[in-house]
């Protein structure tokens, strides 16, 4: 009995420690955002909400947030649709080069972001020189870069969820008179919902917080939030960014809770 109790206590404290380890940075950032001091110091001289007000006065941060959100939505959308189509081909069909294509689609995960960013930058300049159209002058260049990040995640998550689906269910739909497209839309796609939602969430977060791929591809006045933050701390040491992060954590947390209403996240990840 005593031994069982001890081991349960040990196990319990291990779990608590793990959660602390994961949550401590988040809690720390939130704590710091209330410090009433121009420079980070500990213990804080007092507490204030003014840094939160300051976040909304920083136009660079606000427009960065909007740009990041736009790019993340577009990149996730394109990534998820491509992910669904690619997974369909990879899971359902045998064709020569299938493994090669699979590895190719996952490859961007293996290349350091800064390398992708640099390579794309050089590539975009060449496009601009030969066609006169510069992809970095609009969000297009950034969206294309982020799609390279969202496709591998989407393919991974959607193909995995699709691989677990029983194909005979789709066959049953065909048997009952549904054409290939109808069977897919009415029977297979709804059953892929969990994988698709997971892919969309991951893609959005990956794109939203990306810094190293984007850093060379943005233009002045249209930066993403992480870059705007980077620029801000070059000149300021106040807790504004901690406040911005706290807001960001709240927004993403709210998004997760909302999507949990539609698809149980515990089934997804």
């Amino acid at each position: 009995m005593a031994r069982a109790l001890t081991s349960r206590l040990l196990f319990g404290s291990l779990i608590v420690l793990l959660y602390l380890f994961l949550l401590l940075p988040v809690l720390g950032i939130t704590y710091v955002s209330f410090f009433n001091s121009q420079f980070l110091s500990f213990p804080p001289p007092g507490y204030t909400l003014r840094w939160f007000a300051n976040v909304f006065e920083q136009e660079a941060l606000i427009s960065g947030f909007i740009t990041s959100a736009e790019v993340a939505v577009l990149a996730s959308l394109i990534g998820v649709v491509s992910g669904v189509l690619a997974s369909l081909a990879l899971v359902h069909f045998e064709f020569p080069g299938r493994e090669a294509i699979k590895s190719f689609l996952l490859a961007p995960l293996l290349v350091p972001g800064i390398v992708i960013g640099t390579a794309l930058y050089v590539f975009y300049i060449q496009i601009a020189q030969s066609t006169g159209w510069n992809p970095t002058r609009s969000l297009v260049g950034l969206v294309i870069a982020h799609v390279m990040l969202t496709i591998p995640w989407s393919v991974r998550l959607i193909a995995a969820s699709m691989g677990m689906l029983d194909r005979s269910v789709e066959e049953a739909a065909r048997n009952l008179g549904a054409g290939a497209l109808k069977a897919f839309l009415l029977v297979t796609l709804p059953r892929m919902r969990a994988g698709i939602v997971a892919a969309a969430l991951f893609s959005f977060v990956i794109s939203f917080e990306n810094l190293e791929v984007s850093v060379l591809l943005v233009q002045p006045g249209a930066t993403t939030l992480p870059i705007a933050m980077l620029q801000y701390i070059e000149w300021n040491m106040d807790p504004t960014l901690a406040a911005a992060s706290t807001v960001q954590i709240l927004v993403i947390g709210a998004l997760l809770l909302i999507s949990d209403r539609f698809v149980k996240l515990s089934q997804v990840v």
Binding site: D166, S168, V169, E171, A172, A173, R174, N175, L176, G177, A178, G179, A180, K182, A183, L186, V187, P190, R191
Partner: protein, 354 residues
């Protein structure tokens, strides 16, 4: 309802002939069971009728129309899958309505026909449930209702009983058979379980390695198996190997049997219930003294494994009846015999295959 005719159907994967020149006919309202061990091609054959397996050559005709090039959704077959393959995101009623919606049946008629189909399988009270909330037997009935509501020309069953409890299997099988007869459904039924096939089918088709070994009624196949494989697959048979000799056949253990011509490798086959024991052997053609090796009392029968003088082993079934119980002990010597007309000299298709 319609008749199904399959002519010279071949399906190859690479060099391997999974289905090898099959000819098969299912008359209107007939239930044909495809029976064979796993890998014999029975499921591939069924799936090629449904249109999920493109065939290499041959033809499949339903009601005189060649469907072998048609997409699965154009064939009007109704299939019950082994795992039922219900749509998990739809209610029972929506599952059943799916095929009708695909056929653009008006809404009011869909409701009527779904209600009727659910009534047919006694699931009216479960219409709004999700498949996950049903038991295995209920799920199977949803699958049956879903396949039947569209009035398919051919009803296809892929091991529909294999996922049910042994207890349930018998009664569900009987219900399915009653439904099939009531609606006059032309049906092809795939199973590896001979009991299911014997219980349900008008006609059995025994398959092996992509070919039909023998077909006929259950009685015909049991009593007159064409080969050693059939005798062994359908029920149990004592098989004694041997060689043809002048005027008959001689087993490796030295038992002689008068018989007609024996071309090719043959074996002697005797069903366990045709082995007569003790006093029953009075006046039969072959009588031997055997040693009892094991005795298993199974209620209505007693099963005894016997060692023949020539070193061969056979299994005998004794029908127990009040007043004529068999008293056997391991080590006893007992007379065992059989009538020549209860034995068969069968083509030995088991040794050549290796």
């Amino acid at each position: 309802m319609a008749e199904l005719v399959i002519r010279n159907l071949v399906k190859t994967y690479g060099d391997h002939r999974v289905v090898d020149t099959i000819n098969l006919k299912a008359e209107t309202a007939e239930l044909v069971a495809l029976l064979g061990p796993s890998g014999c091609g029975k499921t591939t054959l069924l799936r090629s009728i449904a249109g999920f397996v493109p065939i290499s050559s041959g033809s499949i005709e339903i009601d005189g129309r060649d469907v072998s090039k048609l997409a699965p959704n154009k064939r009007n077959t109704g299939m019950v899958f082994q795992n039922y393959a219900l749509f998990p995101h739809m209610s029972v009623a929506e599952n059943v309505a799916f095929g009708l919606a695909m056929r653009k049946v008006p809404k009011s008629e869909i409701e009527k026909r779904v209600a009727h189909a659910l009534d047919l399988v006694s699931l009216t009270d479960y219409a709004e449930r999700r498949p996950r909330a049903l038991s295995g037997g209920q799920q199977q009935r949803v699958a049956v209702a879903r396949a039947l509501v569209v009035n398919p020309d051919v009803f296809l069953l892929d091991e529909p009983l294999s996922n049910l409890d042994a207890k349930l299997r018998m009664s569900v099988g009987m219900q399915l058979r009653a439904l099939q007869q009531k609606l006059g459904l032309t049906t092809v039924f795939v199973t590896h379980d001979q009991k299911e096939a014997l219980m349900m089918a008008d006609r059995l088709v025994i398959m092996r390695a992509g070919r039909v070994v023998q077909e006929g009624t259950a009685e015909h196949l049991y009593q007159e198996p064409a080969t050693r494989f059939v005798a062994d697959f359908l029920g149990h048979s004592n098989v004694l190997t041997g060689t043809p000799v002048e005027g008959g056949f001689r087993t490796d253990g030295g038992i002689k049997l008068p018989s007609a011509s024996t071309d090719g490798p043959r074996v002697l086959a005797v069903r366990p219930e045709n082995l007569l024991l003790g006093g029953e052997t009075e006046g039969v053609e072959t009588v031997l003294d055997a040693t009892v090796e094991t005795v298993t009392y199974l209620g209505s029968i007693t099963e005894a494994s016997l060692l023949l003088p020539g070193g061969e082993r056979v299994v005998a079934h004794h029908q127990n009846r009040t007043g004529r119980e068999l008293h056997l002990a391991v080590g006893d010597t007992i007379r065992v015999g059989w009538r020549t007309n209860a034995t068969q000299l069968l083509i030995d298709d088991m040794s050549e295959a290796a």
